[in-house]
């Protein structure tokens, strides 16, 4: 663990990603019991206030504190990212398992299904779910998790197939190992690098998707703090108060860059080929 973190820290990109993501976790945690101002405190006399000591990033159209809302939003976004990545990972791995299955019909059918579904945009799925469910976090998580799971399966398939046809899998089979055991023990470790990069890309994309879907009215319901919500509420008044729109967009951009970089750096840090510290350790 420490070895990996140290290797990540050594690169400028890694430092950036670790600092941003660390701050995100801390802020989300702190916001659970403290924000500079209560979320529902509105100050009718100081609407659209510019940044000051009382309101660090100013106030919005109802006089609520922008900084507090962004802090509280960070935990909604954290929740969405974690859930989306989980859904994508589970769904994607199940698909990969089906695609490299030894039963030929299962493999062929799953490949065909993935190829067909992959060209359907996430947002269409989200809209479909939004008809019965309305705006909710579930819509974002399910739509994104499903779409990114498909992507994951398609990208991970070559490496998984290579592993599935390897001689160590054959030897495990001849020893009577079950299909699932082989998948977990021998195939998954082979696709971990691809998995990490894809999942961190998915995490970044889900932050972007949250802001888009929330703006369209099918993401986070109104009244729940999130970065997309902060962005969407300030949009209507862009012509009058351009400053307030800067912050949420800036946060989203920085976090998405950090998430995208994180996967790359982590992949290199856990690979003994690119991280000599791991080699020394296993040699001991």
């Amino acid at each position: 663990m420490m070895v990996v973190l140290r290797a990540m820290w050594r690169r400028a990109e890694g430092r950036f990603a670790l600092v941003v993501l660390g701050l995100w976790l801390i802020v989300a945690g702190v916001s659970l019991f403290w924000t500079p101002r209560p979320l529902l405190e509105t100050d009718g006399y100081h609407v659209w206030a510019t940044p000051s000591a009382a309101h660090w990033l100013g106030t919005d159209g109802t006089g609520a504190d922008v900084f507090s809302w962004l802090m509280a939003g960070s935990r909604t976004n954290l929740l969405i990212v974690v859930l989306t990545v989980l859904v994508a990972a589970v769904f994607g791995l199940l698909l990969v398992a089906a695609m490299v299955a030894r039963r030929a019909t299962v493999a062929v059918v799953s490949v065909v299904i993935v190829d067909a579904l992959i060209s359907i945009p996430t947002v269409l799925l989200a809209l479909m779910l939004a008809v019965p469910l309305g705006a909710s976090v579930v819509v974002i998580v399910v739509a994104c998790g499903f779409g990114y799971g498909l992507n994951l399966a398609r990208v991970a398939r070559p490496a998984a197939l290579l592993a599935a046809r390897s001689s160590y899998v054959e030897s495990a089979l001849s020893n009577g190992a079950s299909g699932w055991w082989i998948f977990v023990r021998h195939i998954v470790p082979n696709i971990v690098p691809v998995l990490l990069v894809q999942l961190s890309l998915s995490a970044g994309t889900s932050v972007l998707a949250e802001s888009g879907l929330t703006y369209l009215g099918i993401g986070v319901p109104s009244g729940v703090p999130s970065w997309g919500h902060s962005l969407a509420t300030s949009v209507k008044f862009i012509n009058v108060y351009p400053l307030t729109v800067l912050w949420p967009g800036l946060i989203v951009t920085v976090v998405v860059v950090a998430l995208n970089v994180f996967g790359d750096v982590l992949r290199d840090a856990i690979d003994p080929l690119t991280n000599p510290a791991l080699r020394e350790r296993s040699g001991r």
Partner: protein, 325 residues
């Protein structure tokens, strides 16, 4: 030829699958459309009458056959709310969305491919880092925010440099082509810059793969300058991959396009679909989702066939596989 037939069969099967999924998702998931349409606190009799009128009381399979049969005849149904046929609704909206997507894609290519080539050619580590950072940040900007920044910079009235109308589409549509095109510039830019950044990353990485496989070195050994080799040999070899990527980003672009259409108040397919979902206009949403999904499936089909045509190695690999098998 076998590949083409396989791919076409897959396309038809996928169309059928999509129609079932769209239909089922809108019926089986919780939330009764009739009661939503009737409004809160409306009497049960009114909800029941509405269900009867919409044909929601019929067995699901009959409803599906009815709808899918219409699709086969080219009849996409009638919007419950406006009473207009879905075909005419969508046609009017597509006249805005389609040019927007094409313009956005054009901008993306104009930005992404040259920048990707420049990033490959860059020698100093500082220049490489700069290109890397540009690519990372460009792909991480939320479409909504990018559009807003462009409005703040370039829109008439509030922008720093007032060049373009900030919102809306001319009332007479393409009757005034200059004005219509002008009002699409900012939206297309906001979509194009973001897609351009990811296109830049793909261009650079596929050029990198090609350089690693020795094609560029070979061209240089034959007397080309590095620059020439990358542009003439590298780009030609990267074309099939880039076409695939552009096809896939095409599908991803639609999310950005929906947001951007709403932001710039353009009455296109994206903003129209969002409105229909908000109104719970069941038949319209169902047919529009199917149309969009089949459009993207068709794009996928075309891209796969194009990829095939551009990279003859794939076809010969098939022949080898058939001979071996």
């Amino acid at each position: 030829m076998r590949f083409v037939i396989h791919r076409l069969a897959l396309f038809v099967a996928a169309l059928f699958g999509v129609s079932v999924v769209v239909f089922a998702a809108l019926r089986i998931l919780p939330g009764d459309v009739a009661s939503v349409m009737a409004g809160l606190n409306s009497p049960a009799s009114r909800v029941e009458a509405l269900r009867e009128q919409l044909g929601l009381n019929r067995p699901l399979i009959i409803q599906y056959v009815d709808w899918a049969g219409g699709l086969l005849r080219g009849d996409f149904g009638t919007s419950i709310l406006t009473g207009r046929s879905v075909t005419s609704l969508v046609a009017g909206r597509a006249a805005i969305t389609f040019p927007l997507i094409v313009l956005g894609l054009l901008i993306a290519c104009l930005i992404g491919i040259p920048l990707g080539v420049a990033a490959t050619l860059a020698r100093s580590s500082a220049a490489r880092a700069a290109f890397h950072i540009v690519g990372l940040i460009g792909g991480a900007i939320p479409a909504l925010w990018g559009g807003l920044l462009l409005i703040l910079l370039f829109s008439r009235g509030t922008g720093l440099i007032g060049l373009f109308p900030s919102q809306g589409f001319p009332m007479d549509g393409w009757g005034a082509p200059g004005e219509a095109l002008w009002s699409l510039v900012l939206p297309a830019l906001s979509v194009g810059i973001i897609v351009g950044a990811s296109l830049m990353r793909y261009t650079r990485s596929s050029l990198g793969d090609i350089a690693a496989s020795g094609h560029i070195d070979m061209a240089m050994a034959c007397g080309m300058m590095r620059r020439q080799a990358v542009i003439r040999v590298g780009l030609r070899l990267a074309t099939p991959q880039l076409v695939s990527v552009i096809g896939l980003t095409f599908a991803e672009m639609i999310t950005g396009v929906m947001v951007i259409e709403n932001l710039f108040a353009l009455p296109g397919i994206g903003s129209g679909l969002v409105t229909d979902v908000g109104n719970r206009d069941l038949i319209a949403v169902q047919s529009e989702l199917f149309m969009l999904a089949s459009f993207f499936l068709a794009v996928g089909l075309i891209v796969d066939l194009l990829h095939r045509a551009l990279d003859p190695r794939l076809a010969s690999a098939d022949i080898v596989a058939e001979v071996v098998a």
